[in-house]
């Protein structure tokens, strides 16, 4: 086992950059694989071994691997989130769920103005915005070593986990626009009775709270081991 020279490291980085990988999770794994392999051969064989690795890790294969990894990571987080959601409907967490629904119902019945209702909805949205900022910051910190290794490659390196969480964290904002803003713009909000609006508000508010809690818990689990 030997250490590769700076020149050799540059050649490896260049070779990997040409594969078009922009997922930090895959990039670090491929880079480690290349280096582990090349370190076990003498300097004279470096070029031959790098070429053989290049042939095995073709651009097409890397694209397929990255695509599958994206699907698998999404599946992993969705599975964690779904298990967390299910846990809120089984004892003893079910008690918290009932309290949450009861609390929201009571609050919505007590609220008299639209402003108060808007405040109730905006609490989880403000929380999600803050959480999103934190996810972005933490990901930026964790990606620093990989980005600095491939700084000359011109690759736009991202964390697949981070992309997934950002998409899911912004979902309630789209939901808010579709359910509240678009009907208002189309002047269709008067079609729904006030009583129904109350029930819908309870339902929507509960979904947003559960979504915010489970995304946070899933992030807490994955942030211990992943680039997020």
């Amino acid at each position: 086992m030997r250490k590769l020279s700076e020149q050799e490291l540059k050649l490896v980085q260049m070779a990997i950059s040409e594969k078009g990988i922009n997922s930090a999770e895959l990039l670090m794994e491929v880079y480690d694989h290349f280096l582990s392999h090349l370190e076990s051969f003498p300097e004279e064989q470096f070029e031959v071994q790098l070429n053989s690795l290049n042939l095995k890790w073709s651009k097409r294969y890397c694209a397929k691997l990255q695509d599958n990894l994206r699907k698998n990571l999404n599946k992993t987080v969705r599975k964690i989130q779904w298990n967390l959601i299910k846990s809120y409907f089984s004892w003893p967490k079910f008690f918290i769920t009932l309290l949450l629904i009861g609390g929201i119902t009571l609050l919505i019945n007590l609220l008299t103005s639209k402003l108060q209702l808007a405040i109730l909805f905006s609490v989880p949205l403000i929380y999600l915005t803050g959480f999103l900022a934190m996810v972005l910051f933490r990901t930026h910190q964790k990606l620093k070593p990989i980005k600095s290794t491939f700084k000359d490659s011109g690759l736009k390196i991202n964390s697949l986990y981070s992309s997934y969480f950002i998409t899911y964290l912004t979902l309630p904002f789209h939901f808010y626009n579709i359910c509240l803003n678009i009907p208002r713009i189309l002047k269709a909000n008067q079609l729904v009775s006030d009583e129904l609006v109350n029930y819908l508000s309870i339902g929507f508010c509960f979904i947003i709270y559960i979504h915010a809690i489970t995304v946070y818990e899933a992030w807490k689990i994955k942030s211990k081991t992943a680039l997020i």
Binding site: M28, D32, H33, L35, S36, N68, N72, T149, T225
Partner: protein, 115 residues
């Protein structure tokens, strides 16, 4: 070298068994360990290994850990609690399959295989 199709069918079992014995391993280490244990008879290709590792992680059988090693970041794989349970069932499944194959290939021989 053994047939790739035969290896592919038992790759998940090989990975789970190695991780059961070695606590945590990284991708390249797995390929080298298999090569070493089988005296070069079985060579796991990158094309098969990484998709299998990512799939096992997505199924919740493996968990990952990132560590800074020398001049790079390394991703280690280890078994989850579900993965630990899955090892014995996968091994039993493979053992039963090998015994059945033995009976087909060599009907006179009574196989006594152990993992």
């Amino acid at each position: 070298m053994s047939s790739n199709a035969l290896i592919k069918g038992s790759l998940q079992t090989i990975i789970l068994k190695l991780l059961e014995e070695n606590e945590k391993m990284y991708g390249y280490e797995i390929t080298q360990k298999v090569k070493e244990l089988t005296a070069g008879e079985i060579k796991i290709t990158e094309g098969a290994l990484y998709p299998a590792l990512h799939k096992l992680e997505a199924e919740g059988l493996l968990t990952t850990e990132i560590q800074q090693v020398d001049n790079r970041v390394r991703k280690y794989y280890s078994l989850t609690k579900d993965g630990q349970k899955e090892v014995s069932s996968k091994l039993a499944e493979l053992q039963a399959f090998v015994e059945s194959m033995q009976r087909i290939i060599n009907p006179g021989l009574k196989p006594e295989l152990g993992f």
